[in-house]
């Protein structure tokens, strides 16, 4: 079996700086020690392991960010998710490595070069620095990659040769062990491999023997392979704080293009997205963006999201955003539209989603009927549904415009009014405490409006609607 190891020494910093124009020295610091640097910082002489105080002396405008192992793990999982489209068997090696089994994939890509080209694409898109090496065993690939070999070796002999020349201190052994080996006068890995294993085991412990065995062992590591998540969930930390909701467009675009890359190969649509906005010194907020028909394209989602975000007032500056899907539905072709003569640009569902995102969910409604004799309860307005259930309408003539609250008439309709029909008595609702008892009349007032009036038992008159 053939293995490829990818090593990302600057994973968190690279992701943070990607697509955010920043050209000053910037370092990640863990326990007062620099752990990741950008190229500007390296030019100033800041190295991995430099103390924070010394680094600050080297550059006055140094930007210092805390190293977060959890965030880096998330980034590694996101990267694996993307690479999974190219390579089937993946192992995560936190915090900064990915192990890929290549031998099965070579047949598909017809050679190592095209396969490698496919793999490099997403890494370059994300602006990541990486080291890589391929070898006959997982550990050999890892050791060579971490040593910065950056070579794709196909035959075992070459890899073994490189391992032989590898200095002990860069072989990935722990500090104490490599010091012991160097004190024995063993400066390269080859010198250690040449010694009898049993003697090495007796003097330096079993760890070294296992290590040497694993260097030659080409079988798969004893842990589960990477399984992509079923639902999309991603978080993006911002280098700058964002104070206007419209400025969220650019970071959001990044997340949405990842969403598209997630949904498209699975032939899924997202029915809704939940956008999490993390505020500085304020509890975070969640914004729902809906699309009833489902959608996967980043561009459409961006349009919908911006409609919603334009309405939003940020409570505090935003330091990070996250995105997850709410409801993933299988992609279905729009076959109903095939014979439609007028090629619509949007479907009804897309139009409704767009309106809802701009105006709010309750501004866009459909009218539904209900079996009830009380006029104000015989229909209701609700959120549009794709499957509308038809309902039999009443046979009595009803006004097309109805007031939510009947308007009291100051006096009883006089001679100026013309009663056209009535009375129609509606007495109902005694079972649910909204009981009504009304005599309805259709009447025309002096201005020519055809009104729907009713009279209560207490001889009060109300205007309830118009036969518009």
């Amino acid at each position: 079996m053939q293995w490829l190891y990818l090593y990302f020494p600057n994973l968190q910093l690279d992701s943070l700086l990607h697509q955010q124009a920043y050209n000053h020295a910037c370092v990640l610091v863990d326990k007062n020690e620099v752990v990741q640097t950008n190229s500007e910082a390296r030019q100033l002489g800041i190295k991995i392991g430099t103390g924070l105080g010394q680094a600050a002396l080297l550059s006055a405008q140094l930007k210092v960010i805390a190293y977060e192992p959890k965030q880096e793990q998330r980034l590694l999982a996101q990267l694996a998710q993307r690479l999974y489209q190219t390579s089937a068997t993946l192992y995560l090696d936190p915090p900064q490595g990915l192990l890929l089994q290549t031998s099965d994939m070579l047949r598909l890509y017809e050679g190592l070069a095209p396969y490698w080209q496919q793999l490099q694409q997403p890494l370059m898109e994300r602006g990541l620095h990486y080291h890589y090496a391929s070898a006959h065993s997982p550990l050999a690939a890892q050791v060579l990659a971490r040593a910065g070999n950056d070579r794709l070796l196909t035959n075992q002999g070459e890899a073994t040769g490189l391992l032989h020349q590898l200095p002990i201190h860069s072989a990935g052994l722990n500090y104490k062990l490599s010091l012991q080996l160097e004190r024995l006068g063993l400066n390269t890995l080859g010198q250690a491999q040449a010694l009898p294993r049993s003697a090495l085991g007796q003097r330096l412990g079993q760890t070294l023997v296992t290590y040497l065995q694993q260097l030659e062992d080409s079988s798969a590591p004893n842990r589960p392979t990477y399984k992509p998540p079923e639902h999309f969930r991603q978080r993006l930390e911002l280098l700058y704080e964002i104070e206007h909701s419209t400025a969220l467009r650019f970071p959001l675009k990044r997340l949405l293009s990842d969403l598209e890359a997630f949904l498209a190969p699975r032939q899924l649509h997202a029915a809704g997205l939940i956008l999490g906005l993390e505020y500085r010194e304020h509890t975070s907020e969640r914004v729902y963006i809906g699309c009833s028909d489902g959608e996967y394209r980043a561009e459409s989602w961006l349009g919908l999201s911006m409609l919603r975000l334009e309405q939003l007032k940020l409570q505090a500056p935003i330091i990070a955003i996250s995105l997850k899907t709410k409801g993933q539905i299988p992609w279905a072709p729009l076959s109903a539209q095939l014979f439609e003569p007028l090629g619509g640009k949007l479907t009804a569902g897309q139009l409704i989603s767009r309106l809802q995102n701009k105006l709010g969910d309750h501004a866009v409604q459909q009218v539904y009927l209900r079996d009830d004799h009380r006029p104000e309860r015989s229909f209701y307005q609700g959120v549009p549904q794709s499957h509308y259930q038809a309902h039999q309408a009443t046979t009595y003539l009803r006004p097309s415009l109805l007031f939510t609250l009947p308007q009291a008439l100051n006096h009883k309709p006089d001679q100026q009014w013309c009663i056209l029909s009535g009375p129609e008595r509606i007495q109902s609702g005694w079972w649910d405490n909204v009981s009504i008892c009304r005599d309805y009349f259709i009447a025309r007032n002096p201005t020519g409006q055809v009104c729907w009036l009713f009279r209560t038992p207490r001889e009060e008159w109300f205007l309830h609607g118009y036969f518009s």
């Binding site: 619509g344 640009k345 139009l351 006004p399 013309c418 008595r425």
Partner: protein, 233 residues
């Protein structure tokens, strides 16, 4: 050649030629109105209806048309009261194709109207708005024309807005005993007509004032109104 094409589409017309119905109109299902409008409502575009007070029969004028065309959405924006689903269903309107939009401010209403028209999935749009400026009317007219939609703009003034709006038709409505009197102020492709009477008596007999009675002096005999005593429950 170009002129012939324009004439064929009635973008340019000769006064003497205007006889007979235009095939690019959709019937209003009111024979007298169809006759006056040379075939009915325009296929596409923006029509202004100055209704005066709500409830004189302005929607009954449109119901037969809306009941016929239901392959695409019919959008209602900002009606002056709640749209009664029972009444719409009675008049043959498909509620599954009916969308109701309520907006807080006029700008949003216009935005919704334009979005609905531009989506291409809306065949009729009815907007209640107090006034439109010429640029707004032009945008809606272009959107409606470009997307095969007919839009009605209803407002509560008795007279159409002053100033020449670039729209397909402008009419004002007034109540009559048996229907509506329509004043046609502008109609693209023909001379403005003086006025016409639309008889709704046949479709809604119970909403018309019986002919043997004087128009505005209904009987309203207090005896009939009070005839049914309420029994205490």
């Amino acid at each position: 050649m170009a002129l012939l094409q324009l004439e064929k589409e009635r973008l340019v017309w000769r006064a003497r030629q205007l006889t007979g119905p235009d095939h690019r109109r959709q019937s209003s299902f009111y024979p007298t109105l169809d006759a006056h409008l040379q075939g009915g409502w325009p296929q596409t575009g923006l029509v202004e209806l100055a209704c005066g007070p709500a409830g004189i029969g302005e929607l009954r004028l449109l119901f037969p048309l809306l009941a016929q065309a239901q392959s695409r959405l019919q959008v209602w924006i900002n009606p002056p009261a709640e749209l009664n689903g029972q009444a719409l269903a009675q008049h043959g309107i498909d509620l599954s194709q009916t969308l109701l939009i309520r907006c807080q401010n006029p700008q949003q209403a216009l935005w919704s109207a334009e979005q609905s028209l531009n989506s291409g999935c809306c065949s009729h749009l009815i907007l209640w708005a107090p006034g439109l400026t010429a640029p707004q009317a032009k945008r809606l007219q272009v959107s409606a024309k470009g997307n095969q939609a007919l839009m009605f703009w209803l407002h509560p003034q008795a007279e159409p807005s002053t100033g020449a709006l670039p729209i397909s038709a402008r009419l004002s409505l007034a109540p009559l005993a048996t229907g509506l009197r329509l004043q046609i102020h502008k109609y693209q492709g023909q001379w403005p007509q003086s006025s016409c009477q639309v008889d709704m008596h046949e479709l809604w007999p119970s909403l018309a004032i019986p002919t043997h009675l004087p128009t505005h002096h209904g009987p309203a005999p207090s005896s009939t109104i009070a005839a049914l005593p309420f029994k205490p429950r």
